[in-house]
Amino acid sequence: MSETLRIASAALLLLAAAINLVRRQWALNILALGLQYVCVFLIILEVRSPLLAAIKLIVGLMVTLMLYLTLVSSGLIESLLVRRRLSSGEVFRGTIALLLVLISILLGPVLQQSAFPQSSQLLLTASVGLILFGLFQMGTITEPLYLVIGLLTFLSGFELLYASLEFSRVLEALFTAVNLSLALIGCFFIVKDVESRSA
């Protein structure tokens, strides 16, 4: 894969994570989550064969689909075309997102030099970016969907990093189980949230 495509994937990955952090529009967030998994797949090709990398893509898309179907069945999802003005909170989170991207870009080379010499700078930047976005999302929001997106983003970032360090089929299977269970828990939270709202 060409270097340009890899850089574009990393940029798109961070953009998708930033959208999930900044915007509060379920349909858009689900789309961004799906896009995030596609970009993870493209970046992970650097260290994995296409067949093994596809496992993460398929699991990611399944997770996205599970969340999407739960939101659709809740009846609360808005159309993607609905336009809303940016709130002050979104502007604030947008600024934070820019800061997180900057930190990831700066941390990539430092981490490569000090701890992970076998991983590429681009992969480290992408994984650190996802971990930071996930952490920020988990630390600031308690709404079930965003919390689960935060957890999935955090795990994706870590999986990306770990993929460059070690490969084990058992580990891949366990990561798959964790991701799918997390999506199920996310659906469980969303359903509970919707039920308690309607009660």
Partner: protein, 478 residues
């Protein structure tokens, strides 16, 4: 593939039964009985299984292997490790059988059996780093039980999920970082990084002070029966897992400062638990602080491993479980008899006149956890207090303060239970004999058991010292 292995019996078989229980989860009593029978059988078999794994049954010889291989990774349950397995399944049995009368989730039998099997697999998996993902799976499964019925998921359960998930990378990265470190003993930077990562991971898992904030939030919203089970299993298994990691890695246990750091973390956690418990006005939330205090004592015991801490930890496992069982049972029973009691002090005022045996049982379980002489936890506490005091004078006042905080809470609770409101707002607080004979018998049995364990520790607790047998490097004399 060899199926005559110990992991087949104590991991795959219960998982298979859990799957079966999914099919019958609507038939609550049946699923409870299946879970009870399976747990008890597994506990008893683990207890009496020959240590050399050579079983003679009906004149035939069955030689079991202790290793089950999956894709070049191993699940290992040795003969000496079976005592821990027996203990975990015993806990599962106790919580299933005694919890039959409470309206907890219909999924409790299924999930409790799955959680137990997963904890056994987390302790059995090699290399140890895979346990991080198994623990994450346990957390995700537990969330279903910890979320209250008919309510949205609270911030406690979400924080629990987040903080336990954050622990995962620390353990996995440490596992990767320290691979081959034994052959490169001069790699001091790597050793230090690996040790820091492991200790942070365990701190997050165990929810030591100050990472415990979600515990009281969760305890307030969750059924005490479920909460006590989930965190008893987590606390007991993680303590043994920490011993296993320390036993396995010489570079970790030989690193200067690891054990003193654990001692300080343990003491501060006990102190935080004691002081915060003294300020509480809700008995449900106190369950979280009891867990915190016990976590602190476990970490302190591991920190004092060369001063007899290992024995103190092993001796505390059963009485601690019995005290949690009694406290959670009494609390659940009170809330079942009188749903208007929300666990707050005003709602408990004058409860002694209404539910005297429940009130006494609540106090006895707390006194046991405090470490009162003649009750279950006293022998283990005495060992720890003596070892801590013998090592340095710094720990004694802090532990004393923690005990005083806990004692203060017990005194406040006694005052609340015994004092009747002069202007009752609720007409229900009148002595009506609401306790059935069966409930009284169960509560008296718990109290008697706690006394017996405290008075005859050598009879009840000495078998639990066998839990330390696998740790031959950490405890060469065990």
């Amino acid at each position: 593939m060899n199926l005559m292995t110990t992991p087949t019996i104590w991991i795959f078989l219960p998982v298979l039964f859990s799957l079966l229980l999914i099919l019958v989860h609507r038939l609550h009593k049946l699923s409870v009985w299946i879970a009870c029978t399976v747990s008890l059988l597994l506990a008893v078999v683990a207890m009496i299984f020959p240590q050399n794994l050579d079983l003679t049954l009906f004149g035939r010889n069955f030689l079991f292997d202790d290793t089950f291989l999956i894709l070049n990774r191993a699940l290992i349950i040795t003969g000496t490790g079976l005592k821990t397995v027996a203990m975990l399944y015993l806990f599962s049995f106790l919580w299933n059988i005694a919890g039959m009368r409470f309206s907890v989730s219909r999924w409790f039998p299924t999930i409790s059996l799955t959680i137990t099997a997963l904890w056994v697999s987390a302790l059995a998996v090699e290399p140890f780093l895979y346990a991080a993902l198994i623990v994450e799976l346990i957390v995700l499964i537990s969330v279903v039980l910890l979320t209250p019925r008919g309510e949205q998921a609270g911030s406690g359960v979400m924080r629990y999920l987040v903080l336990q998930t954050i622990a995962l990378p620390f353990i996995l990265l440490s596992g990767w970082m320290v691979t081959g470190i034994e052959s490169a003993p001069s790699a001091s930077t790597l050793i230090l990084r690996g040790a820091v990562l492991i200790l942070i991971g365990f701190s997050l898992w165990l929810a030591v002070f100050p990472l415990h904030t979600w515990l009281p939030m969760l305890a307030e919203k969750t059924h005490p029966w479920v909460f006590s089970f989930v965190f008893l299993m987590q606390q007991s298994s993680l303590s043994i897992f920490l011993l296993k990691v320390l036993d396995q890695f010489a570079w970790l246990r030989n690193l200067t400062g690891v054990f003193p750091a654990m001692q300080w973390v343990g003491v501060l956690t006990v102190l935080a638990g004691g002081v915060l418990a003294s300020l509480q006005t809700k008995v449900n939330r106190v369950l979280a602080y009891l867990i915190l205090i016990e976590t602190g004592y476990s970490v302190l015991a591991i920190g004092l491993i060369s001063q007899g801490g290992g024995e103190a930890l092993a001796l505390s496992l059963l009485p601690r479980a019995l005290a949690y069982l009694q406290y959670a049972y009494t609390l659940s029973s009170i809330q079942q008899i009188a749903p208007e009691i929300d666990g707050s002090f005003p709602s408990l005022r004058g409860l002694f006149t209404r539910l005297p045996f429940h009130s006494i049982s609540l106090i006895v379980s707390l006194l046991s956890l405090l470490g009162l002489p003649a009750l279950g936890l006293f022998p283990a506490r005495r060992m720890l207090w003596n070892s801590g005091a013998g090592l340095t004078s710094h720990y004694t006042p802090l532990l004393g303060l923690a005990v005083a905080g806990m004692a203060l809470f017990i005194l406040r609770l006694m005052d609340t239970l015994l004092t009747t409101d002069p202007n009752p707002t609720s007409p229900t607080l009148s002595g009506k004999g609401e306790e059935s004979i069966w409930q009284i018998l169960v509560l008296c049995f718990f109290t008697l058991l706690s006394l017996l364990v405290g008075v005859f520790p050598h009879v009840f607790l000495n078998p639990f010292l066998g839990i330390l047998e696998p740790f031959i490097h950490l405890l060469p004399s065990s």
